[in-house]
């Protein structure tokens, strides 16, 4: 199940990369800083636990290189016999200096992550949930396939405060970007 989660986005990326290679080199790159939607596989480390899931984000241009970003992520996994789930909602700004086929970007987001823990005790279960607040700093790279579509890989470091502790949790995501507008 988890292997499938890992392999599926890799396969998507492979097919998409093939399509990109097959496309004429003269294909127009993605528009500079258009509104965009991203969806893809996401992985994060929540403390000592490795969690897998889905990342969604939307961006809206505020200027030539600056965009407003809203990022939603959901992850789950198990650790020490407990099931963990994380739902994150963050918003912030993205800076993307170039508009060619390869578009690196950097971003900073603020928001919260709600972590739920459930322990199945056979006939009963105990659950707990807590919201941690913090920020995510990171960046990534978009590889434009055509005017509408691009592949994206991004890395975040999430600094979250909860339970009296600060966590520094990495997050990786890969997926596809669809650019809106004309």
């Amino acid at each position: 199940m988890r292997g499938g989660r890992v392999l599926a986005p890799a396969a998507i990326l492979g097919v998409a990369a093939s399509l990109a290679d097959a496309a004429p080199r003269t294909a127009a790159p993605a528009r500079s800083n258009a509104p965009g939607l991203f969806a893809g596989y996401s992985h994060t480390e929540a403390g000592d636990a490795s969690l897998h899931g889905l990342g969604l984000s939307g961006s809206y241009p505020l200027g030539a290189a600056l965009s407003l970003v809203v990022d939603i992520s959901g992850h789950d996994g198990s650790f020490a016999g407990a099931d963990l789930g994380q739902l994150g909602l963050m918003a912030g700004a993205r800076w993307s200096p170039s508009s060619g086929r390869l578009r690196p970007f950097a971003e900073g987001l603020l928001g919260g992550v709600r972590t739920s823990v459930s322990v199945d005790l056979g006939g009963a279960s105990i659950s707990d949930a807590d919201t941690d607040w913090g920020l995510a700093l990171g960046g990534g790279l978009d590889y434009g396939l055509n005017r509408r579509w691009a592949l994206r890989a991004l890395v975040h470091v999430r600094l979250l405060h909860g339970e009296g502790a600060w966590d520094t949790d990495p997050r990786l995501a890969v997926g596809a970007v669809f650019r809106l507008g004309r």
Binding site: S78, L121, L160, G164
Partner: protein, 245 residues
């Protein structure tokens, strides 16, 4: 998500949760490559049996630290409530839990070289409640685990499964108490009820939940519903406690 039972209940797990200041044991085995791995999850005081909590804001939460007594091994519990140790010397060792530097409880574990210990505890204001502990020994297989779990029975209930017990409270309080179970001739059953719902019925009926919890003291007649965590010692994590008198 359904969690698979991967654990050998027959594996040695000498577990005791005691209040701060009580004695403990030190690691008895030599440090070896690999050693014992401990993975843990700490639940907050608002953890509930059936629903997400209404826990206090994170800013007011206490910082929880876990130490392996007699070693320099110390970790802070992460914001997501997880912690992990690697390379603990095999044998018997004591995990000491601290909230903002103040000891709130201990768990004594015995584990063989290469074992993986999975532990879930709940931290309340000043106490530690053991919710679950499992020891996976090297070479344990999933099939073996199921068999081992089925072979361990207390009052007709199998380890890892639902159990109902009735009896008198021997000692303790509503968060954790020893139960002299009806029909059981051996030692009392340790009931972890920090996350359980309480209901006082009959002559024990009270007007508030806190009054009901307060009525759980030595001699009280109770009916406990929960899951049998281990047989020796007999440990039950309760989901419901009915106080009868």
């Amino acid at each position: 998500m359904k969690r698979r039972m991967l654990v050998s209940w027959a594996a040695t797990a000498v577990v005791a949760v005691v209040t701060a200041g009580c004695g403990s044991e030190s690691p008895t085995g030599p440090a070896a490559a690999g050693g014992v791995v401990v993975q843990g999850v700490v639940l907050g005081k608002g953890a509930s049996v059936s629903a997400a909590d209404t826990q206090a804001p994170a800013s007011s939460a206490k910082k929880v630290t876990v130490k392996v007594e007699g070693t320099s091994l110390t970790v802070d519990v992460s914001a997501s409530g997880t912690f992990q140790f690697t390379g603990i010397p095999r044998g018997t060792f004591t995990l000491v839990f601290l909230a903002d530097g103040v000891e709130i409880g201990r768990v004594v574990v015995s584990a063989a070289e290469g074992s993986e210990v999975k532990i879930v505890v709940q931290v309340t204001d000043s106490t530690l409640v053991l919710v679950e502990i499992k020891v996976e020994n090297p070479g344990d297989s999933e099939d073996d685990d199921d068999t081992a779990g089925s072979s361990c029975v207390v009052n007709g209930g199998k380890a890892g499964e639902r159990i109902e017990l009735e009896g008198n409270v021997a000692s303790g309080s509503s968060a954790q108490f020893y139960l002299t179970a009806t029909g059981r001739t051996s030692s009392d059953v340790l009931v972890n009820a920090g996350s359980a719902s309480f209901k006082c019925i009959g002559s024990a009926k009270t007007t508030s939940d806190s009054q009901c919890r307060d009525s759980v003291r030595g001699g009280a007649r109770v009916h406990v519903r929960g899951a049998l965590m281990s047989c020796a010692p007999a440990v039950v994590t309760a989901s419901e406690v009915k106080v009868q008198k």
